[in-house]
Amino acid sequence: MFCVFRGFCVDRRPFMKPEDHSRRQVELAGWPVTIETYKLGEVYHCTIANVDPGARFARADGATKEEAESRAIEKATKYLAQTRRFPTA
């Protein structure tokens, strides 16, 4: 039923329901983003999407919600820092 995969205890039950689902908007590196996290089996999955247009661009897993989110936020912040703003006039 359980095996170790990439350092996580992975639940191999055939079907599981996502638990502890959360979704919130925050600002990272000056950009509004949506952070979505849920637990499936023993692993927390976190994905981060830009609010506009809504593309998921960073994700991470963790044994706790905080761990998954902090890893995903670290990646997202790095990617967002590379987005340049240009004058439109």
């Binding site: 599981m16 689902h21 506009d52 998921r56 240009f86």
Partner: protein, 279 residues
């Protein structure tokens, strides 16, 4: 046009009841190609848009033989009901839908609300891929009337022959940014194709990821002069967001002549000498 519930949409309830029926195949297609492995609808197969829904040598949609192999390996034959869903309110599910229609598959549907709604509803997910019995698939000749290539877009701009719908975010439309925040910049210039209307793809959807009603969609496009009385060409950055708008205009609103310009801004915004409008 139809005002009845479109047969191209199925609800999460419907999928929960029919996902493993004989003659039905549920397929997940995500922007985030690792999302399927994080948990997917039991019985669903996963397709990777970066390797399985395109030509990996030249820039093009999936070649016919590769599509036939992909569908056969997924246990899909020509009579199968294919139900697509994915993240980002079905961006790449719509991309797959568009290609399946190009190759003439009759019964393709999209799960309204996509992956977001399924997860938010706390429905079952599986981590293991299903055991599939391969089938044989024969695609039809590609229907290029669903697709716009550069010369047609240039002609439409010059002759004002079509309504151009830019479905990117307002900041991409004005040229303030070259790509959605957090994603790689893939063009040399920002702005939009001259004459295009800015109608971001997200306006097609409700907060839960489902599509807005027929009346809401019809009003929204009509307010921008997009009524279906003239041909419509939708574009975005690489053609996936615009495939969702193409789906809305063609299959939810029932417009006759709608094309997806999948070359999109990564083609136009890199062309030497192409006219660009800002903001």
């Amino acid at each position: 046009m139809t005002t009845t519930l479109p047969t191209v949409l199925v609800s999460t309830d419907w999928v929960a009841q029919h996902a493993t029926d004989a003659g039905v195949r549920v397929v997940e297609v995500d922007v985030d190609t690792s999302a399927y492995d994080q948990g997917h609808i039991p019985g669903a197969v996963g397709w990777n848009w970066t390797t399985q829904l395109c030509d990996t040598l030249v820039r093009d949609i999936v070649p016919v033989k590769a599509l036939e192999d992909l569908l056969g390996a997924a246990g899909i034959d020509n009579k199968t009901t294919i139900v697509l869903y994915g993240d980002n309110n079905n961006w790449f599910a719509a991309w797959a839908f568009w290609q399946l229609k190009i190759y003439g598959h009759d019964d393709v549907r999209i799960m309204d609300g996509g992956r977001k709604k399924w997860v938010a509803e706390g429905r079952e997910l599986a981590k293991d891929a299903p055991q599939i019995q391969k089938k044989s698939y024969k695609a039809k000749t590609a229907d290029t009337s669903l697709r716009a290539f550069l010369p047609e877009v240039q002609s439409a701009v010059a002759g004002k022959k079509a309504a151009l719908v830019d479905v990117r975010s307002p900041d991409e439309f004005t040229g303030k940014i070259l790509a959605p925040p957090g994603l790689p910049e893939t063009c040399q210039r920002g702005g939009h194709i001259p004459g295009a209307k800015s109608i971001p793809w997200g306006k097609n959807c409700n907060d839960d990821g489902t599509f807005k009603s027929f009346d809401e969609l019809k009003s929204m496009y009509a307010a921008q002069g997009v009524t279906g009385d003239q041909p419509v060409i939708a574009y975005c950055r690489i053609g996936e967001r615009s495939s969702l708008t193409w789906f809305v205009l063609k299959h939810l609103l029932g417009f006759d002549d709608v094309k997806n310009y999948d070359g999109s801004w990564t083609e136009w915004g890199n062309l030497v000498g192409a006219a660009v409008e800002k903001p």
